[in-house]
Symmetry: C2
């Protein structure tokens, strides 16, 4: 078994087009031989956001901290700690920090095949 | 997409032999058409614990709250909020609440095929 403290895992900037002020920590991924799912911790700086995009695999998300808008084609859904979201394949989405002072953090799970 | 507040999902007692004072909430599972992984929220009552067992699939665990001992054949590993654990297939484990006054909560992910 592998035990980690989340914040001991190094944070890397997310350089994907459309991302602003986002870092990711791969908590469990291919390097850990995770069999099924990759676990990543995302941090959004104040006003930071992920790309507004869709892809052919799902996300399962757990909000740990902060005040987040999940932007969707049907409008914004507001997320706070202890909210969980299942974004289905091909559903367009963005996670945006609504605060201009505090960071926001969420876990995002993807099938292991989609973790670089 | 499906958005839930964790604590709005009904908690069910875990009746598995060897479990004491444990409830589970299936946050995302077969009923939600989760494609890859089931997300469950476990709560351990004071002194509560899961069975000391092993199985042919992995767990990915995120500790949200409390003071937990992960019991293993190599001794106890202490877990607190923001710790994450990858328990590999066939590794024996138990999660035990070390507090006799406060509950403990953790997310436990399993491949969807293993969620009843």
């Amino acid at each position: 078994m592998i035990l980690k403290k989340m914040l001991d895992v190094p944070a890397e900037p997310v350089r994907m087009e459309g991302a602003e002020g986002v870092t990711v920590r791969v908590l469990f991924g291919p390097d850990d031989n995770a069999p099924t799912v990759a676990m990543r911790l995302f941090e959004l700086a104040p006003d930071g956001h992920t790309p507004f995009h869709a892809h052919g695999f799902e996300h399962e998300v757990i909000v740990l901290e902060g005040d987040i808008a999940m932007v969707t084609p049907d409008g914004d859904k507001l997320l706070v700690a202890n909210d969980v979201v299942l974004v289905m394949p091909d559903e367009k989405h963005r996670f945006k920090n609504r605060s201009d002072t505090a960071p926001a953090r969420f876990i995002c799970l993807v099938p292991i095949a989609y973790q670089q």
